[in-house]
Symmetry: C2
Subunit: 493 residues, 2 copies
């Protein structure tokens, strides 16, 4: 039984996955400061073991033999997804992967050092090396997958996503936002916050904010028997589906940034906790990809957590934990604050997609070779000026040097963020059709019906469908920018 | 270069070791309650990977080839210890190990259930199965190692320890203790504690006790950049040398039990943190064995932590953290409390060795077949009555059912505890020769000279010597019961 052999292989790979995930979460939360070097060594050896076992040529024979076996529908789906991952894992020669890893690591290290010094000239050659290898990688992937090069890169993160489908949707969204951002800012100017976002008492103690975060996590559906909340420098969702580790960081002066972070990571966690347990060790049982994952976190953060209905329920909970009463008119201007800025990770949901579309456009040009690495700052500045009216002409650190993605070689990943935001809106629209009183449910602190809908249509589906198939099956239509546009119009227009 | 191949194998094995150690510590401290099943699965798969790689027949060829290579003194030592471990790991057939694992797991599960019900009759057949397999194991090990069966079992835990050396020392200690325990109790009756061991204010908050524990850990030498203190149900020392995880549990009514636990685990941690870093991934760089490990924890707990000199320094630190002043005459009766009891893990340093000697004697009889499992309760009761004047005739749960060691198949492990106590005393005596003012150092809160002595002679030696060799080299003489006897006489006589 070759399928059985693959099942045993999946168990071995999943054990390594488990170890790497927990060691990674532990590193950012509980590890002793001096433990980093040995931890990095252990994790890299484990990752090597994973790769060697996952890409063993014998595995291809097992896949072929298993495809000839009599399989249930689930088994056949598991095998399809397994083959897809195997092809994606094995389409680069080992020699190439080693060269690329060295080039990426060197560039990331330089990036940490030179970004702080705003030194584009020193950084550009290293980045150019990574770009050159990314072009080569895209060609290798394209040949193996019979896809266009940039599509082949996206395929790693969101199977089935194609430029031909996404580019028009992003173009439509861009046209809307370039016009909409100034309108949203004008509207905002008329309803400026009267109460500043800070504790009247001067501080909201960390322990109370933590209790508030835990209460909110539990309320929106986080299974506290299968996960936990810790502190880390950068918030993340890690661990494994049976033990999801989410983190936040606290500012004692205000509670909103930490709470919104907790809700965002809770969205990721709900997806992980809702994955099909019986296929947990197979790729079929894992989350579909980055865009869908981001859609689940943004759903909880933006569609639920920044929904005024949510705050009707949440304000008494905040008061109970922090001992201060906030009113809707006082808190909503902060929850819905819009601001043009240079930095993607600080952006709000209105301006964020313009940061992404800029990168999506530039990285296609980079991969195709139409844009040279050396010309990036100028191209970046031109788009930043056009889309957000801000210049980065003399500020590459806040321009093309701001993200770790390109130095680390992750081309084709950026679109996932804005696709996630669009999918979250589309999901909310679909839920609105099936659960007409969704706002009232949320205002009453009831999230079960909404979570059941998402569990059935998204979480429990694991990696059964491609990203576009999953969107269509879950929401009844292909990706449609209109839902996100309407969402922004309603909230900020 | 076969040595190089072994070095690479050691890196792979050490990465798995690292993962298993951190996953184990995490399980007892930070894991979500529902994460246990997947964690157990992952750890068992990783342990299987470790075993397969460590016992690969190819490894034997590499060892043989490496032995013919030109090696440095350190490399030769590393290779010797590697071969020793390889032989210990491979001397049982895989089929036997699987049968034994099943038998042990079933017996351990039954033990948890039936100990609570004091059901010896239900438990005995399962234990007898484990004993039968331990006899078989001892034969297999004896043949592979050319040792007597029980010696071959001890060899797993303390290389070089032999019944011929230990039995006379234990016999001498037993004769002394059977006579000494009543004397110590009589002495104690004359200086009973005047102040009960409890907080005047009713409670010592956990957070303050934790700060006290951290202060003590740091003071006695725990490197806080390479380890941490958490809470767990059973205190332990785990993790890896670069990130040692120790734990304790707190009772808010008194501070002594938690603090003594912290000092005990700190002793284990100092050993781990002091191991030779350059050989960390080889067996040579690991701790020598259970007796030496226990000697390091007992050194910090008993030789330092229960030394009256220590409390001269410690009481102001306790007051600073807990806000209550204790005097030496008030605290010492609690620090030195002696009590006859049925339960080994609750025993003090005077009565503890009698619990161990009883088990050491009985398990030799069990392994040799001279004692049948069915006759254990009677044999236990006879010895318990003779050594401590207590009967377990109708109480097998507090007799031969009290420990998990036998149900889990760990025969040959028990002697380590009392050997550790004896080695700790012998070490203290040797330090007293080299550092005549050791008491004054401790009373001043200075532990550097004592730690330097131990680092040089014990910690940095890793697994370079057998247990008896290490004792002799570190203290200048073979194991000698006299030091422990004198220690007890001085403190309790």
């Amino acid at each position: 039984m070759s399928f059985q052999k693959l099942d045993e292989l999946c168990r071995r790979l999943d054990a390594l996955d488990h170890a790497i995930a927990i060691l990674g979460a532990d590193e950012a939360t509980h590890m002793a400061v001096g433990g980093g070097e040995a931890r990095a060594e252990a994790m890299s050896v484990l990752a090597g073991m994973y790769h060697r076992q996952a890409t063993d040529p014998q595995v291809e024979e097992w896949i072929g033999a298993a495809e000839a076996e009599e399989l249930s529908g689930d088994q056949a789906a598991a095998l399809r997804e397994f083959r897809r991952r195997y092809v994606n894992l094995t389409c680069l020669p080992a020699e190439f992967v080693e060269r690329q890893t060295r080039s990426r690591m060197r560039c990331e290290q330089l990036w940490r050092e030179l970004r702080a010094r705003n030194d584009w000239a020193g950084f550009a050659p290293a980045l150019d090396g990574v770009v050159a290898m990314a072009r080569e990688e895209a060609q290798l992937r394209a040949e193996a997958l019979k896809l266009a090069p940039y599509d082949a890169m996206m395929e790693q993160y969101d199977p089935g996503n194609r430029v031909a489908d996404i580019a028009p949707v992003f173009a439509e969204l861009k046209a809307f936002l370039v016009d909409f951002v100034p309108r949203a800012l004008a509207v905002q100017a008329e309803r400026l916050a009267k109460r500043p976002l800070k504790a009247l008492s001067g501080a909201y103690p960390v322990e109370r904010q933590r209790e508030l975060g835990l209460a909110m996590m539990a309320a929106v559906g986080f299974d506290m028997t299968h996960g936990s909340l810790s502190i880390s420098h950068h918030p993340f969702c890690g661990g494994v589906p049976t033990d999801v580790r989410i983190t936040t960081r606290y500012r004692t002066g205000e509670f909103l940034s930490s709470l919104m972070g907790v809700l965002h990571e809770t969205g990721h966690a709900l997806y992980e906790q809702g994955l099909p347990r019986e296929w947990a060790h197979w790729p079929l049982g894992k989350a579909r990809g980055m865009a869908i994952h981001e859609s689940q976190s943004l759903f909880v953060e933006k569609q639920i957590g920044r929904n005024p209905a949510f705050w009707r329920w949440a304000l008494p909970v905040v008061e109970q934990h922090l001992g201060e009463a906030w009113t809707l008119p006082d808190i909503l201007p902060h929850v819905h604050h819009v601001e043009r800025g240079l930095i993607r990770v600080d952006a709000d949901e209105v301006t964020y997609p313009l940061h992404i579309i800029l990168r999506f456009e530039l990285e296609q040009e980079l991969i195709s070779g139409r844009l040279a690495t050396a010309d990036l700052p100028e191209a970046w500045d031109a788009k930043m000026t056009e889309y957000l009216g801000l210049s980065t002409a003399d500020d590459p650190a806040n321009g093309p040097m701001q993200d770790v993605h390109w130095p680390s070689g992750a081309f084709g990943y950026f679109p996932s963020y804005t696709l996630g935001a669009m999918i979250a809106s589309q999901q909310w629209a679909a839920i609105g059709r099936d659960i007409p009183d969704a706002d009232a449910e949320i205002a009453a602190g009831r999230f079960d019906a909404i979570n059941d809908w998402r569990r059935e249509r998204i979480w429990s589906q694991g990696s059964r469908w491609s990203t576009p198939e999953l969107i269509t099956r879950a929401t009844g239509e292909p990706l449609n920018a209109e839902h996100f546009r309407r969402h922004l119009e309603k909230r900020y227009g």
